[in-house]
Symmetry: D2
Subunit: 251 residues, 4 copies
């Protein structure tokens, strides 16, 4: 079976879902089921773990693991604090570190992210940082002890897909921890491409939750991630400038 592993935990599904953007918990629930996901990130600043009827209930019922994230933090200090609150509230030392530089683009701040990652690793966390598509930063974060790196394809919620496949390939070559494509996915072919480039998993939220038919898009993403992974393993034909007849070799 083709499972993947982060920090010793293995997962059967390579599709990690965010929970933001859904029109209702019912829609989210059905989309999560259709996606087959086993791991979901939740913004700790926007959820009250003690409140009944929250997204956490949905996840518990479905048996989907929770990866708390620090969305909404603008400094390393905020992210560290948020991670600690999450650890206490949810009983997990895993955290997706997300430190944002500005409100408009929501792009991750490399300096604060690196600082937060170092501090949280020193504090015993399993850290998965959300970063730009920067191979050098990815390598630095691996050296600092991160359990995975989560480069963006394009800005969160933009649906622009993977703007720079070459950078994602360089990241996959640069690190040996899992690379999880995070942010920018708009449609199924984007997710398939991420896997073909060598990512171990794909993380997405609004591409599903804000699609016209979220449940169907969740199924599309599930198939796309499987397709891209299979294609990576299958070994694609090389690209050629010119044609090559497909028929002559056949008996």
């Amino acid at each position: 079976e083709d499972r993947f592993t982060i920090a010793g935990r293995t997962f059967g599904s390579r599709l990690i879902m965010g929970t933001g953007g859904a029109p209702s918990l019912e829609v989210l629930d059905r989309a999560l089921a259709a996606s087959g996901t086993e791991l979901t990130t939740v913004a700790m600043r926007r959820v009250d773990p003690s409140a009944p009827g929250s997204v956490l209930d949905v996840l518990r019922r479905r048996g989907i693991a929770v990866l708390p994230n620090t969305a909404g933090c603008y400094t390393a200090g905020d992210a560290v604090l948020t991670a600690r609150l999450a650890r206490e509230a949810l009983g997990t030392n895993w955290v997706k570190v997300e430190v944002i530089n500005d409100e408009r683009t929501l792009l991750p701040d490399p300096i604060e992210t690196f600082d937060a990652a170092e501090r949280l690793i020193a504090d015993g966390f399993v850290v998965l940082p959300y970063i730009g598509d920067d191979p050098a930063l990815a390598r630095r974060l691996e050296q600092a002890g991160c359990a995975a790196v989560m480069p963006l394809g394009s800005p969160i919620g933009s649906g622009l897909g993977i703007r720079n496949p070459h950078s994602i390939e360089l990241i996959v070559e640069a690190v040996s921890v899992p690379v999880i494509l995070d942010a920018g996915i708009g449609t199924a072919s984007d997710a398939a491409l991420a896997m073909e480039l060598g990512c171990e998993a794909v993380m997405l939220a609004t591409a599903v939750t804000r699609a016209q038919r979220p449940e169907r898009m969740a199924a599309a993403m599930r198939s796309a991630v499987e397709a891209g992974r299979l294609a990576r393993l299958a070994g694609r034909i090389p690209r050629r400038r010119y044609a090559e007849a497909s028929s002559p070799l056949t008996p």
Copy 2:
């Protein structure tokens, strides 16, 4: 169920396989099974329908329909002749018209292709022409009575994928017969993209038969076509220049 229809015949699988390029009939057989295809094209100039142990036997055993093609023809006259021989030998009036302009690129000749299509339609054939990604030619061929159009993504066997998605979108808008993306597919995300652009089906051969592991790539393509089709039906999010937070709307 999401079936598609060409000239009154419906198909459950939207993946049409070519039979060229496989290292052996056994490999081809397993790849066809993994692909789930229900329709396969065979080059009439390279197969002897009466010989036992041919690719046609494999298809018969699997219950996969045969769409004869005129690969290897350089003029309308050759294509017409080849189509008639196919009709006699295989008992089908369907034909994929393929008239090639030169040996190196194997690009289809629009003038000969149009001529052949007109003559074959007049002779009672159901014609599916292989063409460049030209919306105007696609419209002309529909007006001439073709049952579908089969534009290329890039040259046969190049694995360059869909070089001009904008043209494929314009073709989908220009005609009401099915558009089948044919030629150039290299990997799973290419096939998913074709479906997202609005194609009704994808046709490919060497992307599977010459992959390092053909059977696995066949499974990848099967999932990719399903993923792309589901994504098309699901209604993707719009592309935005800037980010949009995914979390705020979540309860």
Copy 3:
């Protein structure tokens, strides 16, 4: 000097201007001057050669040659008729054949264009056909006796640039008559790219005439065409996946 030749006539400027889209004749006049063009196309169906104060007067005063075009024609017959009227009115046997398939996309019809080209060549015309980016059609038109081929980069007026550089390269390789990139140019880098791909000249209109400052954009296009041509002749460095230090070799 780096001149280029069509059917025995040589030109110093590789920028061919269309005259459509300008807000006024004065603006057009200044833009033409800034562009340095020596050849301009004029839609015969939209100009009255005998009327004073027309675009033809501007061109005469500037000493810019006129290449009549058949814009607005939908059939080969219309194009042939229009070309003959142009020959009589303007005293030139050169014609840019433009036969359009539909009003919305204004994409050229390959079947009618080929038919018109054959008939006009038989009638002694020097024919420059406007076509899609189809290498096979380009080769057919060269074989039919066309003096140049004018493939589009993208639909007229779309400003989408060269959507399929690979096709333009294949056309440059496929024919030995000049390839003139026509339609779709939006900005300077598009024009430079056309020349780098091996085109002998670039034809454009609205990219200049509908720019916010047409005269300045005309100067931009002039420089861009020169830059792209020089770069083609200079022999660019190869593309590499990885970096190569630029400094070690320097003394």
Copy 4:
């Protein structure tokens, strides 16, 4: 006149040349002249300012300003040291900070680069950092006091051009100091595109010094930068999905 300004110094040419990669000082000399550059970067670790017949002599003779760079440094400490040596040797407090993460890709290390920039700014330097195409890092460096930011188009020496134009646009929007496109330029259209995206200048070396004909490529780059700048100022037409006839509006 269209000059641009960094930290109070203005330049007429928007093409900044590196000096690495030339086959000889004579070739470099002629290429510099053809480029029209007024500012050149020199790797301090690879030049001996006191040696006669060095690249510095060529620059002095041509009256081209020198921007020392810290190429070859792997840590902030090394870069700070190198910048100080350069200040002493060349009498300039300007420095292009370049801190590399690994030998193979030569990609800049964001953490070390930011650290070096902060320390050098505190020490009175005018700092121009070479960075990945990360808008958030660019903003951080502006806030830290950098005089410009120099994002890459693609890895040094790769000739891959601008892999992610969207990121360069976001950087231009994110900062108010000049953005200088640095690294990856392969040919003229790449340089034109950089200017169209809003960069104030383009920096390149091997695209010229290792072209087959360096002098001619230098002239191409000079024209391309001018073309792109003019096009930016001219205000390009919008991109449209569909065609728009260019002729109807003309008298």
